[in-house]
Amino acid sequence: MNKSKTNKLLAIVLAISCVVIVAGVILYALLGFNTMPERTESYTVEVSYETILDEIYDKVGDLEKVCEDAFRANGVSYDAKEIVPCMDNTSLSETNESMIKYTFKSDTDEAALAKAVEAVNTGVAANENFDLAHVFAGMHEVAGTRFYEYAWRGAIAVAVGAVAAFVYICIRYGVSLAVSGFVCCVHDALFTAAVFAIVRVPVYAATPLLYAAVAALVSIVLWLIFANKLRGAFKAPENASAQSEELIRATAKASRKPMLIAAAVVCGVIAVIGAAAASGASLFLLPAIVGVAVPLLSTFFIGPEVCIPLRKAFDKRRAAKENKKGYIGKKKASENADAE
């Protein structure tokens, strides 16, 4: 790819990144992440009964049928159902009561749900099987609250970690590679979090930061693969006369295969663990693949292109310093020339 095409591509990639990150920040501020799996905003219908209904009469199935018929008749459908035992609030031992807890999405028609609950209570009253079990159905609106400390401390943690990695790369590989690696790392963490804010894939509340951390870690691994190869290329005697721009581009191209392999291995690990796990955990794990894909793209398209001008600038500065070292003054130079 020639230089002008590469520059155009870089400009496009950077523009897309900026748009995605800004849109992500705005949407996060307005809507937050889609934490639907935590069911922080939901309606619940709790049908409590004494456990004799289950243990002696074996009628819990009948009660569930009454409830589900009422939901169907009123056009509402639940998201999750669980039978939960009620606990004593002094010993935490199970009492003689349990409840069937139905969870509905927050966009469920409230009036229809209220009617369904009324129908459940009417249905229960009409069925003598439930007389002794003190069955009672109630509806509740649940609104979750956020723990902001987790979010801001997580964001600071990822940022400080990235700075530490930047300092390390700076010591080991030089400033130009460190700065471009840092740009990639911060970009990847922000971009990954922004993707989840924009596409609103259902995630658990704490996970977008975890995915951002995964993106930062993968970004550093990929960048170190590139940096290591580039250092080798600069040291190779056959490249002594090569321009740094050429070397960076050639190394970036040569690093793609090992980077793809590394990313594929990480994706494979996440995909297999995610696919093997139950649906709840899959939802936790599988979106982390975004945190691998984003660094791969940035290390291909952004990192080396950011590195080139920085490397050139540092080379120029070094050359200027070396020239300055060689400068001995006009008078001394003319004296030397006379002596010769």
């Binding site: 609250t145 943690a157 704490a206 093997a276």
Partner: protein, 528 residues
């Protein structure tokens, strides 16, 4: 390495590794009539409450509690709010009593009035579906909820949220239910049932923080409370409260200001073993901590130990004091008697733990097969490195008290394993290239490792650095992931650069054709 040395080293490491693997995976009954169970490290490790029960029926973890995941949800009713069920049942009881009374009886009118008063005393909320009932006298005016009641409830929820957040428990949550009740979820993996109840009921105490003192005959109600002068606040005396643990157990550390120190010093001047002074710390009207003092206190912090404190209970008390200190004024209290508690199941489903283990197992098997196919005998070195890595990770997660098995732990261990696999692949490939150039196997391995060493070292150091820094700043899931990943990276580096190399050398000493053993080939040059 010589054959004898290699054989001895391999036998020793194999026995050690087999022992570790056994401790990590074996489950079997033992003892008279199989009354006890042998618990492996995985079974004994704390687990994320989101993961479901994967243990066989009747199988009990070492602490005597069967792991079933999930946790407890407590619903708090503020004074002036009752549940629809309580309202319906109380009203039905009153109506039953009325129906069973002869209208000519003297008490009939009283009972009728009782029913009418009860009905008139409460307002259904929300209007459409009556999830709760609000006491009109306390919460309503002209058929509407008063602004003060609303603001007090918001203040009480803010205190509750601050307390639960302060616990830094993965999975803990606070929600508002029906606009006027609060709901707290606490995962079951921390604390015993007693301390969980203690924590949940302690959270119900809202109101202002205050301190007082009395002698051995006084009680919390009769103690002399600190009277704040105009313009003064309790924060002029008490700075904060923190929970901590040491070898003696968990405790609450209450930090005082200079003024607070002087106050306590004044209160305890005459304290001795014969005439102890009790210092009371109140949240609302109830004393949350009593500290019996038998000597003059001149320190800036008060350490409160209690036999009933474990980590969770001490954290709950400290968080309750701290939030009451820092929160704005609220007059609302939650009724601790009417806290409703239910046990919730694991959020990710009942089979998650076993499915995750199966997924990791499948990955491990695939990785081992790949290395055996690609590098034949060197696959053994990879096998030993990988088994060392996995068993050491299980051992560490079990041994380090603040780590537990969760999805983030699986992710961290999986990513660390991937790093180890890639590091091994890179070094084996590097040695293969050296061998292809015509070097001996020993010098190929040496040169291969030398060539890759700094690359692998850099990746591991940078990742460990970012992981441990993240752990020190972040909380809950991210902190857990970061620390586990940091450990995984360190172990991956050790296993790749030391364990794998050592075993490669040991196994290779028995091979006659070393090139064939490693599936390495020379590059054939054409002689022209």
């Amino acid at each position: 390495m010589g054959k004898i040395k290699s054989a001895i080293a391999l036998v020793l490491t194999t026995v050690l590794l087999a022992g570790l693997c056994f401790m990590c995976t074996a489950v079997f009954p033992h003892g008279t009539e199989n009354i006890s169970m042998f618990n492996n490290f995985v079974a004994m490790t704390e687990k994320d409450p989101k993961l479901g029960n994967a243990l066989p029926e009747g199988y009990t973890a070492s602490d005597g509690r069967t792991y079933i995941g999930g946790g407890y949800t407590a619903v708090y009713y503020p004074e002036g709010v009752i549940s629809a069920r309580e309202y319906t049942e109380t009203l039905a009881g009153k109506k039953d009593a009325l129906e069973n009374t002869d209208p000519s009886d003297k008490s009939y009118e009283d009972r009728q009035k009782d029913v009418e008063d009860y009905e008139a005393g409460y307002m259904a909320y929300p209007e459409g579906n009556a999830s709760v009932y609000l006491e009109i006298e306390k919460a309503c005016e002209d058929g509407e909820v008063t602004e003060k009641f609303q603001a007090d409830f918001e203040g009480a929820v803010a205190q509750l949220r601050a307390r639960v957040e302060e616990l830094h428990l993965s999975g803990a949550a606070v929600s508002v239910r029906d606009n006027f009740t609060a709901q707290v979820f606490v995962p079951s993996y921390k604390g015993t049932p007693n301390t969980l109840v203690y924590a949940l009921t302690t959270f119900a105490r809202t109101g202002d923080f205050s301190i007082g003192y009395g002698d051995s005959n006084s009680t919390a109600d009769t103690a002399t409370k600190l009277e704040l002068a105009e313009g003064e606040s309790i924060r002029d005396y008490v700075k904060s409260a923190r929970a901590n643990s040491n070898v003696n157990g968990s405790y609450v550390d209450i930090r005082l200001t200079g003024k607070g120190k002087n106050l306590i010093s004044g209160w305890t001047t005459g304290a001795s073993s014969d005439s102890a002074v009790t210092i009371y710390f109140y949240v609302g009207d109830e004393a949350i901590v009593n500290l019996s003092v038998d000597s003059h206190i001149t320190e800036r912090s008060l350490t409160v130990y209690s036999a009933s404190y474990d980590e969770l209970a001490a954290s709950a008390v400290a968080a309750t004091i701290d939030s009451a200190l820092k929160a704005g004024k609220t007059e609302m209290t939650f009724s601790s008697d009417s806290v409703e508690i239910v046990r919730e199941g694991a959020a990710f489903g009942d089979l998650t733990l076993i499915l995750l283990c199966a997924g990791v197992g499948a990955l491990l098997l695939a990785e081992l097969i790949f290395f055996f196919v690609k590098f034949r005998g060197v696959g053994l070195a990879n096998l030993y490195a990988m088994l060392t890595y996995v068993s050491m990770m299980i051992l560490l997660v079990w041994a380090i008290p603040f780590l537990h098995i969760g999805v983030e732990t699986f992710l961290a261990v999986g990513l660390g394993g991937a790093l180890l696999a890639v590091s091994n692949y890179v070094t084996y490939e590097s040695a293969k290239k050296e061998y292809a150039l015509g070097k001996t196997m020993t010098s190929s391995v040496k040169a291969g490792y030398k060539r890759c060493f700094f690359g692998i070292f850099d990746v591991h150091i940078a990742l460990a650095l970012i992981a441990f820094i993240t752990y020190f700043i972040a909380l809950t899931e991210l902190a857990s992931f970061a620390f586990t990943f940091g450990l995984a990276v360190v172990l991956s580096g050790l296993c790749s650069l030391a364990v794998s190399r050592f075993h490669w050398a040991a196994f290779m000493s028995f091979a006659k054709d070393k090139g064939k053993f490693c599936n390495f080939k020379r590059v054939e040059e054409d002689d022209e």
